[in-house]
């Protein structure tokens, strides 16, 4: 497989340099843009496999850049933000961001998110099975097995897991999950979600208190890896 290409759109030269060094040394090809406009032009002429987008750009609001990119670009976009502002993060996820990181972040965390997001790019929408380390999901038979033992999941638990599995490496907001699983009328009923994530974790995680698959994005939603 050829090197995956990552476009960094960030106005801070130091941050770009730091990211570029790390990404290149981890085998990625790096493109850089210092403004939203430049980033859009660059990605249009040469679509990368993943875009790291700083939401606080000087020339254009990062949210606008995100919307513009999403009108034609369908691979992963990870938002970098300095503000730990949940409303801001949720609105960028609603606008199609795949994932987000709040500055300052650990490089290890960034690389893990990038790997998960790129893996997601390469998965087939119509796949019939999916494997997540010890977990195996058969979408046709609607069965799940953990370390080769078939798990007994309720229908809602299965639907939830399958939604997560089809969106691996992507942060799903509470509203989105509730709408997909329970329907529009349940969009604010987060207690349902909490309960079912709890019961699902007990079944699929080695240690439900230290989830390896269903990761909580506090105040925002969940990410499945």
């Amino acid at each position: 497989m050829s090197k995956a290409e990552i476009l960094i759109i960030d106005d801070e030269p130091q941050i770009r340099k730091l990211l570029a060094i790390n990404l290149e040394s981890n085998g990625y090809k790096v493109l850089q843009a210092s403004t939203g406009k430049e980033g859009i032009i660059l990605s249009a002429s040469h679509p990368p496999d993943l875009i790291l987008l700083d939401i606080g750009l000087p020339d254009k609001n990062g949210h606008e850049v995100l919307k513009e990119l999403r009108s034609w670009y369908n691979k992963a976009i990870i938002i970098l933000s300095v503000q730990d502002n949940e409303t801001d993060i949720i609105s960028s996820l609603d606008n199609g961001a795949t994932d987000y990181l709040t500055k300052p972040f650990r490089i290890g965390e960034l690389l893990a998110r990038i790997r998960a997001a790129i893996r997601r790019n390469n998965t087939d929408e119509n796949k019939t099975t999916a494997t997540f380390s010890d977990l195996k999901i058969d979408f046709t038979a609607r069965t799940v097995s953990k370390s080769n033992t078939v798990l007994k999941l309720t229908s809602t638990e299965y639907n939830l897991l399958s939604l997560f599995a089809r969106n691996e490496g992507r942060v799903l907001t509470h509203q989105f999950i509730l709408k997909e699983i329970w329907g529009i009328a349940y969009q604010t009923e987060t207690q349902y979600l909490r309960v079912f994530v709890g019961t699902l974790r007990k079944k699929i995680e080695d240690n439900p208190n230290q989830s390896k698959h269903i990761i909580t994005a506090s105040g925002v939603g969940y990410r499945f890896i």
């Binding site: 300052p104 229908s155 809602t156 207690q191 909490r194 309960v195 506090s218 105040g219």
Partner: protein, 348 residues
């Protein structure tokens, strides 16, 4: 509004006086009206008071000074009385107004001085607390750059971890400052949503176990705890600050235990340690802004606990620090919260 009340009050006193004028005499009425104007002067702005003064003078002249129902005054003594009434009423209004203005000015000045004092403390504490980690970072980087080829691998590792610790410390200071600012400016709006308290506590603990291996943190969750409606972000910060505090003020290898239960309509979370405990005389100051225990080691601004208190109180909760009977300190957070036991949820 003040104008209407002024006029109404003067009219009311006048009518009552007019009805009892035969008993009390018109000179006493003047005093009654003066008292009314003085009362208004204490409460209202200058303009309504002046209106009341002029109006009451005219009413007194027209309805009370003989001959009645004219502005004409026969008696020289009454003319003098009328002029004096007019003057006293006006002076009364103006003087009270001036006194109040002076009071306001003094209060503003005091407030400004307090703010300046606060900012000075903040700046002093900041410049120290930020420069210490900054000097570590700058120093370590200089050393690494200049001795690239001579430093042993072990020394390099030490310098890297010094930079790491110092930058995390800087980041924590910035976060504390931002949180303090949110509390101080009243910008804090709670975003309550259902949350799993056990999960929240585990996620806070995880952050510590990833970075701090010198303390043992124990938490045995109560599996029957219902979901609680809280602002998860703020509550996480409360626990984070309390646990961080425990790691800072107990010797290495101390045990920090966390307990979370539901008591009537409140969740009660306690964070206790087996350290040396709190000096009894200092407990009352622990949650004060910028307060740090005497002989604290460097690396704190004295904001952590006051933020924990602020965020808890934003939930109408309370936070108590005391010494455990078995030794060590115990911090107890009690937060009233809506609960949700969804046992009958359809799960098929």
């Amino acid at each position: 509004m003040q104008h209407i009340i002024s006029i109404a009050l003067v009219l009311l006193v006048s009518i009552v006086s007019f009805l009892s004028a035969e008993i009390i005499g018109y000179k006493v009425v003047a005093l009654l009206l003066l008292v009314t104007v003085s009362l208004l002067a204490m409460l209202f702005d200058i303009l309504p008071v002046l209106i009341a003064a002029v109006l009451s003078a005219l009413i007194w002249n027209f309805f009370f000074i003989p001959p009645l129902f004219t502005f004409h005054i026969n008696d020289t003594e009454d003319v003098l009385l009328f002029l004096m009434y007019f003057l006293i009423a006006l002076l009364n209004g103006v003087l009270t107004f001036k006194i109040r203005q002076a009071e306001n000015k003094a209060r503003d000045k005091e407030e400004k001085e307090n703010t300046i004092k606060l900012y000075n403390t903040l700046l002093n504490s900041l410049s120290h607390e930020m420069r210490t980690p900054l000097s570590t970072i700058i120093g370590a980087i200089d050393t690494l750059k200049e001795n690239r080829n001579t430093l042993s691998a072990e020394n390099k590792d030490d310098l890297f971890s010094a930079i790491d610790i110092a930058s995390m410390r800087l980041n924590r200071q910035v976060e504390n400052l931002l949180n303090m600012n949110r509390l101080e400016t009243g910008m804090l709006r709670l975003k309550k949503d259902w949350c799993d308290l056990n999960e929240l506590i585990f996620s806070v603990i995880q952050k510590f176990t990833e970075t701090d291996n010198h303390h043992k943190i124990i938490f045995a969750p109560d599996e029957n705890l219902p979901l609680l409606k809280l602002d998860a972000g703020l509550i996480e910060q409360v626990f984070h600050n309390l646990i961080h505090n425990a790691t800072q003020y107990t010797p290495e290898n101390s045990i920090i235990s966390i307990d979370a239960t539901l008591q009537s309509d409140s969740c009660v979370i306690s964070i206790s340690d087996n350290g040396k405990g709190l000096p009894e005389s200092e407990i009352q100051f622990l949650f004060d802004k910028f307060y740090r225990l005497p002989n604290s080691k460097t690396g704190g601004t004295g904001l952590g606990l006051s933020i924990a208190k602020g965020f808890t109180e934003a939930h109408n909760g309370k936070i108590v620090a005391e010494n455990n009977k078995q030794g060590g300190a115990i911090f107890t957070v009690t937060i009233p919260a809506e609960t949700s036991f969804i046992n009958n949820l359809k799960n098929e």
